[in-house]
Every structure is written in structure tokens, then in C-alpha cells.
């Protein structure tokens, strides 16, 4: 994202003036804190937003013993604990952001760990608001795991971010009987019950994410990632977690962004190649 700069700035003079100004009176502004990089902050400023405070939300929810022993179907306590932990962490993040006067939180970093006895979720991000704007009620605060840069770009294209949509599903892997294993030893064959169990679990996680998105009034979810795999402490249990950013078009609808092609000079250039066929 590089815009052609209108006129070169005399950076040396800017630095000299800035350093000289430090000897003057201290600032009387309200102290802000943010974990945004300067690029993100500049991008946000370009659409009239500013950071106010670094905010976080944490939740730890326990899973009673016994749920991970080999069984069948979904490990409902784990799915439920995961959902609870996310919901509580999001609520706390909303509350902190609203208290700091933010209208939303950008660049939310999601850290979620599933342990045998509990699920831990920690969210950290920077609360932001339109420059100088007053506080907003907690219910209207938006969350986004997009960087300041992506947030800006979406907003230039006429879209609003609403929140995070999360869906999870923890299931037991199905078992094959010894007889089946021997019978299939030398064959190429699809293990249909396995396929269905894993396929369905993944779909369930995605469906729950969609339900969460719809509940937030979404038009769409972008940047969906699905984190999946056997649990480190119980290899017969497989977890699926789908996370995405909920978006909806703003009042003015989608705006075309008219991209420009550029050739970066700081990387080996690979030409576009079409392989002709006979």
C-alpha cells in the first residue's frame, strides 16, 4: 500500500524542529496507549481515526474431568467451554474499549489454548475512535482482528467490520474394528465413516462460526482460518476451530478501489508465464 507522495518532505528539518520542541512545555493531551505500528497509525489517521488505549479481555473456563477419555461423537464440554471462554473474553474486551472511549478495537490478537482441564482465551488490541469523538455504548463497539492497514482499506472500500465470529467443534475419531483393518490391508478404499466424522466436525465448526456471524448482523465473513488437528494430550480427539472477521457494507455500499499494478524493485521479479499446450 504505497501512495505516491505529493511532495518530498525535508525530513532533517522536521527532526530538528521536533527535537527542539521537546524543550518547550509538556503536552496537556490525554495520554493514549496503543500497540499499533506507525504505519497502521498513519493509515488509520488517513481515514480520520485515532488510537485511544491498549485493551484486553481474558477468560479461563474449566472442563470437568473425564471428557477426553475415548468415547464417541462430539466432546460437548470442550466445545461449550471454548464457546464460553471466547464469549466472556469478547465481552471484557468490549467493556474495556467502551470505558476507554473507543468505538472499536482493531488488530485484535487472539491467543487461545485448549488444555485437558480448561480453555484459556486472551484477546489484546488497540481501541480506536474517529478523531476526537465521544464515547459509544458498549453494545455498539466493534472488534476486528484485522491490522490497522486492512481496516483502513476495507473502510475505503465502503465496508464496516463488526466483530469476530468463532466456531469450534471437538470430536472423537471413530474406531475401526480389527476385522475391518485386516480386510482393508491391501486395498485402496475410502474410509467413509472416518470421512463423514471428520468432514461433519469441520462443517459443524464452520456452521457455528456462521451462526455467530449472523447473530452479529453480518453480511459476510472474511479471512476465515480453520485451525485443526489432534489434541496434543489426547491424539484420539480432534479439534476444529474456525475464526473469521465479520463485515457488512457501510451506508454508501461497496466502493471500487481501482488497484494499480506495481513492480516492486526490492525483490527478484518473476514474470507472468503461460504454458502453451498443443
Amino acid at each position: 500500500m504505497s501512495a505516491p507522495s505529493p511532495e518530498p518532505v525535508d525530513l532533517k528539518a522536521v527532526v530538528r524542529r521536533a527535537v527542539a520542541a521537546l524543550d518547550g512545555t509538556p503536552s496537556d493531551t490525554y495520554p493514549t496507549t496503543s500497540d499499533l505500528t506507525i504505519d497502521e497509525e498513519l493509515a488509520l489517521h488517513s481515514i480520520g481515526w485515532e488510537p485511544v488505549e491498549l485493551v484486553s479481555g481474558v477468560s479461563i473456563v474449566s472442563i470437568p474431568l473425564g471428557w477426553w477419555n475415548w468415547g464417541q461423537g462430539e466432546i460437548t464440554a470442550a466445545s461449550e467451554a471454548h464457546r464460553h471462554a471466547f464469549a466472556n473474553a469478547v465481552t471484557r474486551l468490549h467493556r474495556e474499549a467502551a470505558r476507554a472511549g473507543g468505538h472499536g478495537v482493531v488488530g485484535v490478537r487472539v491467543e487461545a489454548v485448549v488444555r485437558p482441564t480448561h480453555v484459556e482465551v486472551a484477546l489484546v488490541g488497540s481501541a480506536v475512535r474517529p478523531v476526537g469523538a465521544g464515547a459509544r455504548p458498549e453494545a455498539e463497539v466493534f472488534l476486528s482482528d484485522l491490522s490497522g492497514r486492512d481496516f483502513t482499506l476495507l473502510s475505503v472500500a465502503g465496508w464496516e467490520t463488526v466483530g469476530l465470529a468463532v466456531g469450534s467443534s471437538f470430536v472423537f475419531a471413530p474406531r475401526r474394528s480389527v476385522g475391518t483393518v485386516l480386510g482393508q490391508q491391501t486395498q485402496n478404499v475410502e474410509l467413509t465413516n472416518f470421512t463423514e466424522a471428520i468432514y461433519a466436525a469441520r462443517e459443524t465448526a464452520m456452521a457455528r462460526m456462521q451462526d455467530a456471524a449472523l447473530a452479529l448482523g453480518a453480511t459476510g465473513v472474511v479471512g476465515v482460518s480453520i485451525d485443526e488437528g489432534p489434541m496434543s494430550f489426547a491424539s484420539h480427539a480432534v479439534g476444529f476451530v474456525a475464526i473469521g472477521t465479520v463485515v457488512r457494507p457501510g451506508p454508501s455500499g461497496h466502493q471500487r478501489v481501482a488497484p494499480m499494478t506495481v513492480v516492486p524493485l526490492d525483490d527478484a521479479v518473476v514474470a507472468f508465464e503461460a504454458h502453451a499446450l498443443e
Partner: protein
């Protein structure tokens, strides 16, 4: 605070030599020159701190059963809701702020910073850019070494500095953009908060997954005591950093959290928050809204 000029003799010799040295990468070095910041010398400061004075190091406090939280710190008691006492049952739990850890950390960091700034002052520098900090626990429990280093710079064409040099974790293009955005760097800021959790019965059962009877009838439940410790530790770190800002902004903050388990039902939540104190010295001139580009590579 470190006593005035307690730099070792070797430091004096190194600083007196002629050529410049810097910890900057080539792009950062180039960016410094374009800003008119002339790199002078790599400067550094050390400080080794011990906080073992609380009866056998970090573990001591809680294992005694009845730790005495330092006065003024956060402290919250979690009573057993069940109303009976056995040898196994933790009828009593507490969250408390480990103020001695916090103050040892603050002293270590600020001593190392002061020594680094002293080296920079000796060179007539206006500031120190690209500060790196490492906190290494040494072999002995409860001892940590703080090491800060950065590149001392002089501002081309500016009068000799009046006060102490400013410091910042930033260097290169990032720093250039901070200046361009109308900010001036003031100081590298870091703080630690530490909250100890001595679990009561409900918390302990929830953490160990024994669930059932005491942790809410075998259903999933939030572990309030630990969640509260996390919330408070973050809040303490933020409030403390805010107090060091004196009305300026904290830019490019970094929040890292470590949760240690010292034993069954004995946790520690440590939050490190650091960033750059910057002051707005010129009005913000907004950039044009960005355009989307597609790289052909």
C-alpha cells in the same frame, strides 16, 4: 536510581575511541542518515538484581500458607463457600500483588537505562535509537540481569543537548515516520506487574478438572479467581505505564503475559508492558487515503 557515573573503566576507554559503531542494520542506518541523525556509538547499560529476600526466593511467600502482601498492593481474599475444613480442602485462597518482584524489576530496568543514557550523555548525544532490552534470569533463583543497548545519535545542525538524551525502541523508517507524523520520541518505557494466585478450593478443583461437587456440578464454569488475577495484572501494568507518560502518548506498545504454575493451586501472572513515550510536537497532517496496489512478483 544508579549513583552518578558508576560506569566501568573499560566503558570510558571504548567511548573515547574515534570510529563510530552502531547496532543498526543497513536500512536502519540509511534511514538515520536521511533523518539527519548521525550515529555515534553503541551504548549499553547493565544491572543485575536479586529479589530473594522473601524467605527462599520466589516460592517462599506462598508456600508459608499465610503470605504477607506488601502494604498498598492489590490483595483479594477468596473464602471457601462450603463452610467446612479438612486437611485436603483449601478453605482459604488469595490473590495478591508481588510488589517486591515489581519494584526489583523496575529498579533493574531503570538502572540499566540510566547507565545507557549516561554513556550517551558522555558522547554528547541527543538521543539513543533502536534500543534493545533483554532480561536474563541467572542460574540462582530470584536473580536477573537487565541489559539495554542502543545506538547513540546526534541531530545534525542542532545545538548541543541541554538535558538527558531521549531513548526509543524504534529505529529506521519506523522512527522517520514517527517524526513525520508530528511526534518526537521521549523515552523507552517498560513496566512489570506480578500477581500471585493462591487458589481456594473452588479454583483448585476447576483447574485440576476434578469438577463435580465443588466446581459447579460437573459443568463448564469460568475460573473467576484466575481470570480476575489476569485482569488486575494487565490493569496494574497499564496504570503504571500511564503514570510514567506524564500526559504523553505510548506508541508501539508490546504486551506480553507469562502465567507460571509454581505448584498445585499456586500460580503467578506476570505482565510486561513496554513501548515508546512520544509527544505530539506538530499538528497531524493526514496522508491521502491509501490506494490498493498489486505487485507483479
Amino acid at each position: 536510581m544508579a549513583p552518578a557515573s558508576d560506569l566501568p573503566e573499560a566503558a570510558g576507554r571504548r567511548l573515547a575511541e574515534g570510529s563510530f559503531s552502531s547496532g543498526l542494520s543497513v536500512p536502519d542506518f540509511a534511514a538515520c542518515l536521511s533523518m539527519g541523525l548521525e550515529p555515534l556509538r553503541l551504548v549499553q547499560g547493565f544491572c543485575a538484581m536479586q529479589w530473594g529476600a522473601y524467605g527462599g526466593g520466589i516460592l517462599g511467600g506462598a508456600m508459608m500458607g499465610q503470605p504477607t502482601p506488601a502494604s498498598g498492593g492489590y490483595n483479594e481474599v477468596y473464602q471457601c463457600p462450603h463452610g467446612f475444613v479438612t486437611g485436603e480442602h483449601r478453605a482459604w485462597g488469595q490473590n495478591y500483588e508481588q510488589t517486591w518482584v515489581e519494584s526489583a524489576w523496575a529498579t533493574g530496568f531503570s538502572n540499566a537505562l540510566t547507565r545507557m543514557v549516561e554513556e550517551a550523555t558522555a558522547l554528547g548525544a541527543h538521543g539513543v535509537v533502536g534500543v534493545l532490552d533483554t532480561e536474563t534470569p541467572l542460574a540462582e533463583a530470584g536473580v536477573a540481569e537487565f541489559h539495554l543497548r542502543g545506538t547513540a545519535v546526534r541531530v545534525e545542525g542542532a545545538p548541543a543537548p541541554k538535558g538527558d538524551p531521549w531513548t526509543t525502541f524504534l529505529a529506521g523508517q519506523r522512527l522517520a515516520k514517527v517524526f513525520e507524523a508530528g511526534y518526537a520520541p521521549l523515552g523507552a518505557v517498560a513496566t512489570v506487574s506480578s500477581v500471585r494466585v493462591w487458589a481456594n478450593c473452588v479454583t483448585e478443583y476447576a483447574l485440576e478438572g476434578t469438577g463435580g461437587l465443588f466446581a459447579g456440578g460437573g459443568s463448564v464454569a469460568e475460573v473467576d479467581q484466575v481470570v480476575r488475577a489476569h485482569g488486575v495484572a494487565r490493569d496494574l501494568a497499564r496504570t503504571r505505564v500511564r503514570a510514567q507518560l506524564h500526559g504523553d502518548a505510548l506508541h508501539g506498545a508490546e504486551l506480553s503475559v507469562v502465567a507460571r504454575e509454581h505448584g498445585s493451586g499456586d500460580l503467578e501472572v506476570q505482565v510486561l508492558l513496554k513501548g515508546n513515550r512520544v509527544r505530539r510536537v506538530a499538528p497531524f497532517s493526514p496522508l491521502p487515503a491509501p490506494t490498493l496496489t498489486v505487485a507483479l512478483s
